[in-house]
């Protein structure tokens, strides 16, 4: 069905609410649009991007090889700063991994229709970000080959169990659970779409591979019914996880005794920060995908604006948290905390003052521009801001970890300046490589927008109605009734 560009509006059609999918699409067109990148040959740009990502990944692998073979001494951590870039990056990636599940689970439960345009990519981002995040706690271990000690497996050593008091132990459970649930959620949503790709496949191999991936989905009512039920159950499971994961990550710091870490405000502040950075990262990626694959109709300005609203909200929450910390640093009259917050952080001229003010500028001040609708709906500003926010959130983790550790209780152990070594940077670059390698593969082989789900919100019937009956409706209702009666 070829549609004319109907610009008229029906009498009872909302003038305020933007359509969730732009243009006039029918179901087939949706499938065509979304599956096109999978069926077409990848562009040159894709190849360039992919190989750069793989190169970064390989550099990361070599960096990790150095660290495992020669020891953590390859990094510039020291006896006072036991965590630096490693855990900064861990928390940063975990934070990024928050938007996906939030979009898919919480927004599903809240029946936010706009989520369908972005949830697939956001969930993929979550999975990949958590994969990246997981590398850091594993490889920051001095003896990574003994990493299985953190699991409570039956053993012959007594038996010796892990220490259930340790927040690192909780991390193991929180992150592995989160990863598992997110993966299942993501995959269960992919099944009908894989079936679509399978059904359209022209080569045997494709048919076979997508056939396996879609678990024999035939789209029967029963399948749909179960699919819906599963989605709800997983959404229910995932919702508390969105809140719990970063809460637990924050407890790595909050349960400690170090000034700057020992803070009860951490759990909500970390969760808000995670959503903040997660949405920013989603923006960054979606704006690229949207452009590269021509998906402007599905990822509309409405989506971008909605996410920018979340960004300005969570950014402000985070800003409040920063100010609260500063206030408490003074109000508590605790000289150790006072020193950390007011000297090591808020003082621009202290050795790491730049990181604190970088964080303030990126996370608190700059997102405030999104109070203006015009700026919220500007693609370039949005893209720029999404990058800025993620830089700011990286600063935040760096500030929390390094400025708290490097000058703690005993002035005698205050550390010299900490610069990352090339292998620490390499590890971080490597996780970018991993992330984008996965993301490029995902965008090539997976439907980047949930085909089945977007069809729910497609107003095809409405558009048909408009086309066929609209003209009638424009007429005098009495006439219409009269005609109809005949």
């Amino acid at each position: 069905m070829v549609l004319n560009q109907v610009t008229m509006h029906l009498k009872y059609e909302s003038q305020l609410r933007e359509p969730l999918v732009a243009g006039v699409k029918d179901y087939h067109q949706v499938t065509e649009d979304i599956v096109r990148p999978i069926e077409a040959k990848p562009s040159k740009l894709w190849y360039i991007g992919f190989f750069i990502s793989v190169a970064c990944l390989l550099f990361g692998v070599y960096s990790v090889y150095r660290e495992v073979t020669y020891g953590i001494g390859q990094w510039n951590l020291n006896r006072t700063i036991g965590w630096g870039w490693d855990i900064t990056n861990f928390v940063w990636w975990v934070g990024i991994g928050h938007a996906g599940t939030l979009i898919s689970a919480i927004l599903l439960l809240f029946r936010q229709g706009w989520r369908t345009g972005v949830n697939r990519a956001a969930e993929a981002m979550t999975i990949f970000a958590v994969m990246c995040a997981g590398q850091f706690p594993i490889f920051h271990m001095g003896r990574v080959w003994m990493a299985m000690f953190v699991f409570p497996y039956p053993n012959t050593r007594g038996p010796v169990w892990p220490n259930f008091n340790s927040p690192l132990m909780w991390d193991v459970f929180a992150i592995s659970t989160y990863f598992t649930v997110s993966l299942l959620f993501w995959y269960s949503g992919l099944i009908p779409d894989f079936a679509t790709v399978r059904d359209r496949a022209k080569t045997k191999l494709r048919k076979k591979l997508y056939g396996i991936a879609s678990f024999g989905w035939v789209g029967s009512t029963k399948h749909w019914q179960r699919h819906e039920a599963l989605s709800l159950v997983l959404a229910g499971l995932a919702t508390p996880l969105v809140l719990s994961v970063h809460t637990i990550v924050s407890m790595d710091f909050a349960t400690s005794v170090i000034p700057g870490w020992h803070t009860t405000i951490f759990p909500p502040y970390f969760v808000a920060g995670a959503i903040f950075s997660g949405f920013a990262m989603t923006q960054t990626l979606l704006l690229v995908i949207r452009k590269v694959f021509g998906l402007q109709d599905y990822i509309t300005m409405g989506h971008i604006e909605a996410m920018n609203k979340v960004i300005v909200l969570t950014g402000s929450i985070v800003g409040c948290a920063y100010l609260t910390e500063l206030f408490m640093g003074w109000y508590s009259q605790n000289k150790y905390e006072g020193y950390t917050f007011w000297y090591s952080r808020a003082n621009l001229f202290s050795p790491y003052g730049w990181s604190y003010w970088g964080m303030m500028a990126c996370n608190v001040l700059s997102p405030q521009i999104f109070w203006f609708r015009k700026l919220r709906r500007n693609i370039y500003i949005t893209f720029f801001m999404s990058v800025i926010v993620n830089i700011g959130m990286w600063f935040e983790r760096f500030v929390i970890i390094v400025t708290s550790l490097y000058r703690d209780y005993l002035p005698s152990s205050w550390s010299p300046y900490y610069h990352p070594s090339i292998w620490e940077i390499g590890f971080y670059v490597g996780t970018f490589g991993l992330f984008f390698t996965c993301f490029f593969l995902f965008s090539k082989y997976f439907p980047t927008i949930a085909i089945a789900e977007i069809k729910y919100i497609l107003k095809v019937t409405g558009e048909n109605y408009k086309e066929k009956v609209g003209e009638l409706e424009m007429e005098n209702p009495d006439e219409f009734a009269h005609e109809y009666a005949h």
Binding site: L77, W83, R143, Y343, L410, S412
Partner: protein, 1062 residues
Amino acid sequence: MKQNKHWQSFGELNNSEAHQNAAKDEFREELPFEGKENGGFFKTETPRRDFLKYLGFSTAAAALAASCEIPVRKAIPFANKPEDIVPGVADYYATTFVQDGDVVSVLAKVRDGRPIKIEGNDLSPITEGGTSARVQASVLELYDTHRLRFPTMGIGNDAKEITLEAADKSIAAELAALGGAPVVILTSTINSPTTLDAINQFIAKYPGSRHVVYDAVSHTGMLLANEATYGKRAIPSYHFENAKVIVSIGADFLGTWLSPVEFTKQYVKGRKLSQEKPELSRHFHFETVASLTGSNADERYLHRPSETGAIVAALYSAVQGQAVSGVSDAAKEGITKAAKELVANKGAALVVSGSNDVNVQIIVNAINEALQAGGKTIDWSATLNYKAGIDKDFADLVADLNAGKVGALLVHGANPAYSWFDADKVKSGISKVKLAVSFSSRKDETAQLCKYVVPDHHFLESWGDAEPKTGFYSFMQPTINPLFKTRQWQDSLLKWSGAATNYSTAFKTYWTAKLGGDNSWETALQNGVATANGVTAKPAKADTLAHAVAQMAAPAGTGSAFNAGGVAAAVSAAGGKKGSGKVEVVLYQKVAIGAGQGAANPWLQEMPDPVTKATWDNYVIVSPALAKTLLNIDLAIPGQADAYEVNPPKKLVKVTVNGKSVTLPALIIPGTEANTIGIAVGYGRAKEVGAAAVTDEGDVVGQNAFPLTSLNGSAVQFYGDGDITVDGGTFPIALSQTHSLYTTPQGTRTEVMKELTLNQFKKKPDQILEEREHEMKPFGGLENFEKQGTIYPVYDKPGIHWGMSIDLNSCVGCGACVVACNAENNIPVVGKREVSRFHDMHWIRIDRYYAGSIDNPTVVFQPMMCQHCDNAPCENVCPVNATNHSSEGLNQMAYNRCIGTKYCANNCPYKVRRFNWADYTGADSFPHNQVGHVSAATLEMNDDLMRMVLNPDVTVRSRGVMEKCSFCVQRLQEGKLKAKKESRPLKSGENGEWDVKTACQQACPANAIVFGNINNSKAAVVAHRTENNDRLFRVIEQIHTLPNVSYLAKVRNRDEEIATEE
């Protein structure tokens, strides 16, 4: 009752034959072996083939597994167990540490034939079981890979190995061919009676020969002054313990001056503060550059080095009640105050000076005479024999050498080619000698010039004796067979002088005769010490000690008569002297390195200097005031101070004295006179002396500062007018501590460190208790703090509970404990680069804090090690339980459980946990992983020879695990076992009996550390705490870690009050 028959199949219903057959066979399907149709595994066609397959695979797998190369380390048990060696049980032999005249009586701990640790000898009335860092580290030198292993002939690259016999033969021939030209034996100070005998025998054989004593850092001024005023070219004994007022003018008597271990023991006796009778000795210190002793002083005054004479002269006139003039206002105030106190305490006052100027020392003698120190704080009845060298003698020898007036030169202990100010002259002189023989055990700067090197034994391989104080003897016995083809140098001397006996026999004969019989000789050897009155037959500790102490401690009479003739001339000569240069340079010795003796020792190089906290280098010490003008660094501006602290590279400066210059990085050290700079000697050694003397870049460690000295008449002068310019570049300095104030803009961290003055303490003894009560108030106050500070239940701690108490008033910060811990606990050496990356591994460190003005602050030292918290923050964050709490209150590490998350280190508020960042010890299962940050010194420590020093009772930690102070758990276990075997409770210091001492406690010359079972009410540690309850505190107690280490606050006998926070 009729039962319905339930059937499952028609077969069952009909009970067909097929069903019956099927039912019979429980496992209906055949096992999947080849030829299964024949029925069963054993009847298959090819069970043999399967069998062979399995056999082949398993053989191949086993062969493959077995043929993988696994390094085999042989441990061979004794075929016949020697009677006196029990595997796993250490033997202790009394012996003596002797190095260039320094003497410390020690015990060598020998495990399975290897000496592995040095302990102080409690029986010595001089050192009373105290040791120094250098003594502790000396055991490592035994196993040094750079020791010379055989005699050589030839210079430089021509040096060839020869046998001892060949060396004897050709040296004898060359000596015979001298044709009457004199032979000179050049040594550092020798105070061994039998060695002096051997030297005399040699000299008798070669008439015209002489013995020249050369000390790199001599006490010429003092010796000559004493000769002038007391008629004796000797140094008297000092009794710091009898002095209520001590005035030191540049004498670093706790660090490097004469006999620091002895003086520390004496000094701290006056620094023990009892709650009932709060009295302390008072220590005034006048110095130019911050020193260890100056840092401990109650009142420190700074002056220029050229002002020393004026200061001493002013003090002399002040003591005599005359007006003070000719000195700066600050010094004047100090002199007036000091003189007042000195005069008020006549007979209990002591003035010492580190100056090498005869006139200065004459005036000091006059002051001491005026204070009636003789017989009280100065004892002429027993002289100190540590330093006997007169610089003039050596200068004459250098002239003789260059004039070709010396036939042969035999060198032992002395290294003038390195340490003489005009080393070129020494070198050219030695090249003119026909025969030059060195007995050095390393290829040092002088040995490199000698045709023959006949290396001496290490003292742990040697027989010998020493008489550090007249009438007191300390004996040396071998604790291990010589490792290499070396020979005691006394043996060589005896051999070349044609003596019939060897040294050990001569030594035994001498002492058997002197002590009166074999029994006494054996007892003396066992005790390691004896006095002129002989030895007590019983080696019981208390007896010997009481006897000897009584013998030594009561000075007999006033000693020599004082001749005041030269004093007036000295005053006019010294008092007028003043430098003209804007900046003056002082050369000083570091506690660890000395005049270069420690430069080849990795433990000593890595020991942070007590004053500067720097390792592995020397540098230029500049005052904060000079830094402001010269380096553009103002430590008063937080931003600049931060930038200076957090960046290891420091600005290079070029220092020129007398036309000779060195370029070194500048460290800003408060407590240094504004326009005076200090440079440590002992660095810039030849690369051949040891791996520790070479940097990873292949340069020498530090720069030699000896060329900056000069000869001033009869004595070498260690200061001069200098010219200092910024050189442009930077050079990294590996500091183990970067920040030194416990004051912050947000408040003074009094929970970390507590100090107050004696007056404050007298006025309000419970000030610290009150302060603690205040800190603990939000958590229920001191009383209920343990319970109310936590939401968890509080448990009883029955049985043994280990605890430590450290008296900050006694601790002088010398660092002996740091090296003792190195030796005891197999602490790896990490090298300079790693220290500068803050990767040092020391389990115990000495934190140094400044308070007061930045130009002349007060200094506190705080030994810091794992606090063994009963509520340890490290324990609950470890995800794998690798660090946990023992029932005896130890915070313990299970190394093989540790996965290295470093979370515990982050959460340790004391930052005492140490992580193995690289494979420092070679203990890792990864091969070939010692690249990158592992330095050459670390690799040397991994050599099989160096590894012999490892303590077999302590695990060598591999890469990637956390480690920390264990309270020497291996010693605790040993002590508990001993008590158990004897069926008695463990003794921790009751009546002076100890089952267990930690290594740091045992090494401490100041008795600052007390350790034991705090559940034993009679334990010394309990007494230490309860008797000093007013001064007791725990570091950052308010965070409820409940540490088992407690501290006693520092109390300073100072007028100016120390600000405290209410």
